[in-house]
Symmetry: C2
Subunit: 314 residues, 2 copies
């Protein structure tokens, strides 16, 4: 019953910011030049909690301090997180989501738009062409090539839930996992040692980091709706349109402007400062600030995103 193989704990963080309309994640350059999340082993001798271990690692690699952080998931799958060379043991990887306002990049790190990794997740301008053009045909083939009819039906259902009618912007992880199993992302071939047939969808990442990022996006998209987390990404004051653009960037959807404004106002998430923006064109907008007090109130609401359908413009 004793564990012969040793285990080590890896900590990884998806550190997210939004610049204008671009949601980005902090990546570090690593071996094989694959993008990686900041990560490192957990040292139990030095740290009382997993999170303090994470903060130290991130501090070292990115030279800045984490604000809001949240644990995502612990992955232990054999083969999807290869142990560091020489260590020989198995790595169990704990993923974190962190939110931050924009900061300058540290050496060897850079902000990268998260839709590079998940181009099918951005429905703001329109439904991405690759879904009808590439993804659905490939997934239909994947379902058809099932070993038995039962598996085929399961796969068809999953394809439909993930990419079919009625886009659910929260199912980021489910979609990535489906594409992985169907061999449509590069990591699949890397993890099982086969050569990739063609270039996979989106930009691959080191280890299981793209899976962790998918988990982060999914969690953030969900949390937006019931907790006021967007404000972690906003400057101290902002216009309502800036706030809306940030939410849209994260959700990958366009929202109805007037209703968004009504929602934010009625929920009391925000208060006017009396100051106004000085835009290049158009009428100046009032600058608002987050009402920190809402965190002390009971329901602590988020921003329900009404508009489910992508639209050309607002």
């Amino acid at each position: 019953m004793s564990a012969k193989e040793s285990v080590s704990i890896g900590l990884s963080a998806a550190i997210v910011t939004v610049e204008g309309e671009l949601p980005s994640v902090l990546v570090v350059a690593h071996r094989g030049s694959q993008d990686a999340l900041p990560f490192g082993p957990f040292d139990p001798a030095q740290h009382r909690t997993l999170e303090s271990g994470l903060r130290k690692w991130v501090g070292e690699q990115t030279k800045f301090e984490l604000g809001y952080t949240e644990q995502l998931y612990t992955f232990g799958d054999k083969g999807r997180h290869l142990p560091s060379p020489g260590s020989g043991g198995r790595v169990v990887s704990v993923g974190y989501l962190a939110l931050t306002r924009q900061v300058r990049e540290a050496p060897d790190t850079q902000w990268r738009g998260w839709y590079h990794y998940f181009p099918w997740e951005d429905w703001r301008d329109n439904k991405p062409d690759m879904i009808e053009g590439v993804i659905l045909p490939a997934l239909k083939k994947f379902a058809k090539d099932s070993p038995d009819s039962e598996t085929a039906e399961l796969r068809r259902d999953r394809v439909n839930v993930c990419f079919g009618e009625g886009w659910d912007e929260e199912r980021v992880l489910e979609r990535y996992e489906l594409l992985y199993e169907a061999g449509l992302v590069e990591e699949f071939y890397r993890d099982c040692g086969k050569p990739a047939k063609s270039s996979g969808l989106g930009t691959p990442m080191l280890f299981d980091h793209r899976r962790i990022l998918a988990t982060a996006i999914a969690r953030l998209r969900g949390k937006l709706k019931y907790r006021p987390v967007v404000f972690e990404l906003m400057a101290p004051t902002f216009t309502l349109l800036e706030l809306q653009r940030t939410v849209e960037a994260l959700a990958g959807l366009r929202l109805h402007k007037q209703n968004f404004r009504r929602l934010v106002a009625e929920q009391g998430l925000v208060e006017g400062t009396g100051q106004f923006s000085t835009p290049v064109r158009g009428r100046p907008a009032e600058l608002f600030r987050f009402r920190r007090e809402v965190l002390k109130e009971r329901p602590a609401p988020g921003m329900r995103l009404g508009a489910r359908r992508a639209k050309a413009a607002v």
Copy 2:
């Protein structure tokens, strides 16, 4: 930078069922006769994933197979999960939630009502007296005894969010953690080696198992509302009242009967069988079954529990 202390991974499962109106969790008898969740170490040599390791352990300890399972959280706090005697290393503990229909107990295990561990969480009959009588006075003292005024305000806010106006049945973990920090549960004294002043609130558990159970209840109460998970706990056919009682048992709240029925019907979660129950008294109720197809449909709804307030009766 190398980890001098070794780490091992502990897997624990909160296995939940509902019998009539009693939500229960499977506990195993352990040292010191404290209740414990089924748990064991993860052996990376033997298992490809964390979940398969969990299934094996649970199978050995409880002699039955898990159905629905879901990872909850990974706790690594020093001091809250003491390593097994002799091992000397640090334990990082991964908690799981599992749902099952009623099964007989295996040797050395038993079902125990979860409100034994969290008596303040059951608002079905009325707001538990202990909240006004014991908890709030003690927490007010805890806030007053803060080292500085800033901490005092933070604590007052937390007390209010957790136990103040407007009960949020999902904040199970936040409430437990607050009671822990305030020294109102036995585990607090055990973990820091001090003798307990008085008997703490609720029944204590081994290690951090009560925290894991709190996480499980919180997650389940939340998930009920947006995914059809209750049906994992129901017999193949059931009356709508049985379904309602199960939801109420989990949420710790009473619901409005007619509205509950309307909700369930409109969402298409359920279909009539044409058969009827044979009750001791009262009109027989139609037996329903879960429409498995909803899992293949897009939004895959849960059961929003409208009634927030506890009431004497339905």
